[in-house]
Subunit: 318 residues, 2 copies
């Protein structure tokens, strides 16, 4: 096993058994983090890909590696779905036959409205359904890309159902404890609002990055070699984002369509105004916007979401 | 003096005297790098801002700090203009009275067509005008933000005039040697082509970043606090780029208008197609584009322009 910090002996596992459905970047990171922090006793992982299963076995991070979601879910106290958003419903249906009464069912999907619906529709009666989204990740994919510190100091947004019965609230408290143990900061949010906030802070940035890299690839007068060679001028940051998992992101855009199109509409409107200001040489307008956006960055730095230090070796632009 | 590596005693300075006009991020980095690598004997810097001059004196990186460009340029073998693009013509005119016959006049501006014109129009007869652009920088500004390793393994694009006389070619060779000494890789390019390539790899990425940060700031339903809190989802990378110097970038867009609007037009067209694919649920189209852009990233990593390692602590997204 790799990346193992010693489990704090004092802390009891939050869940006796954890089942993760989908052992890619995020799923395998949940497993690693739960192991390293002693947040779960036994850990099972189900993955439909034989290649992933082989890697998961070789990595030795889980007690049980299987292709059968129901088998992984058997006796689990927490089941975490870590598959692309549009595969969530199917994953719940596959896990359901193995789930015990009173188990908590959560996920890590980047969209919450559609996933909450799919989970509610397919979860067995007696399960506590609490959708979730850790705002963490890298552009890498697969079991080998995960790491146990991925969620440290990152936000996990939980979008609980509108239920105020005590057992559900207890399940929510326990899931909160689980993520706190993994080093995350926990926020509760309405799923519709989640989808709007993430459309701005994550989905549109990815869409824009995918788009600009595609545009650059189609130019006749500028070669791919030149684009790569001079990518330090700003473009490289976009290529990193545009290297994110294609299926995961396809699903995000298809399932958060309304919020993404709404934000994209505003972005395009603003971009056209900016384009017009360039065409007509309105320097004052440009300078005002650029001064304003700089102030926003300083706000992020001041809020401790980011270091003010220049990022040596990565962000040299000009 | 800070950041001093020992000057290699074996290497003679490439220029006996270097004058840098403008001591901000790039200008002060040229000074530091030239000093550290022993690429220049004496170094003078001129800056029109009293605040900058005070910092430059306190940093002690130059032998002479002045507000008078002609004074800095006196007896200099190389004069490097490091001011915003639209201030280049004025900077040349200010330095010209001090320039000696046979001096080389270069710059570090992000746009080359407009700068080449401004330099040619204002340079004294007998100067060798060789515009240049180091593709390097950070989102920081000012004398304190510079550092001597900024240009290491970065490209400097020189856009020499169409002259094949021996003295000009000798001046070009010497300027090439100077940048090689600073650790850069040197490329020669036609200025019009430079402006098109950089419109793609640098100017459009900055415009897009400025725009998205502005769009996010104007939302009614999502607070600034939320945007900052969940910026790890991809948005944060854009805020870093959108924190770049407002005046420098205003000038870039105004002086490289044609290439920027051309590339922006293509970007917008592609974005509308993407928007349509989302609206009509064309998952196959989205997946194809996202798979293609991922391959481009792998090309950049393979070309050694970037590390394949996940960027721990900075790029955790989801």
């Amino acid at each position: 096993m790799t990346d193992h910090s010693p489990t704090p002996k004092s802390a009891e596992p939050v869940y006796a058994k954890l089942a993760v459905i989908g052992g890619g970047l995020i799923g395998s990171s949940v497993i690693r983090a739960a192991r390293e922090k002693g947040a779960a006793g036994e850990i099972a992982v189900a993955d439909s890909s034989p290649v992933h299963r082989e890697r998961l076995k070789a990595l030795g991070i889980a007690d049980q590696v299987t292709g059968d979601a129901a088998e992984a879910a058997r006796d689990a106290d927490l089941i975490v779905l870590a598959v692309p958003v549009m595969a969530m419903g199917e994953a719940v249906a596959a896990a359901a036959p193995g789930m015990k009464l009173g188990a908590t069912l959560s996920d890590v999907g980047s969209v919450k409205g559609a996933v909450a619906e799919a989970m509610a529709a397919n979860a067995p009666a007696g399960a506590f359904v609490i959708p979730g989204h850790p705002v963490a990740g890298t552009e890498q994919s697969g079991p080998d890309a995960g790491f146990g510190s991925l969620f440290e100091n990152r936000w996990i947004i939980l979008t609980p159902q509108k239920r105020d019965d005590a057992p559900y609230q207890a399940a929510l408290e326990r899931l909160t404890e689980f993520w706190l143990r993994l080093g995350s900061r926990v926020e509760l949010m309405d799923e519709r609002h989640h989808d709007l906030v993430l459309a701005v802070t994550s989905h549109l940035p990815h869409l824009i990055a995918y788009n600009i890299v595609g545009t650059a690839a189609d130019l006749e007068e500028v070669t791919q070699g030149e684009v790569m060679k001079y990518s330090a001028g700003g473009f490289r940051d976009f290529t990193r984002i545009a290297a994110s998992d294609p299926i995961m992101w396809r699903d995000v855009f298809l399932t958060n369509k309304d919020a993404v199109l709404e934000i994209l509409g505003r972005f395009t409107e603003d971009l056209q105004a900016l384009s017009r200001a360039i065409r007509w040489g309105e320097g004052e307008k440009l300078q005002q916007l650029f001064t304003r956006t700089r102030a926003i960055r300083l706000g992020i730095v001041a809020a401790g979401q980011e270091s003010a230090e220049p990022n040596f070796g990565r962000d040299r632009r000009g």
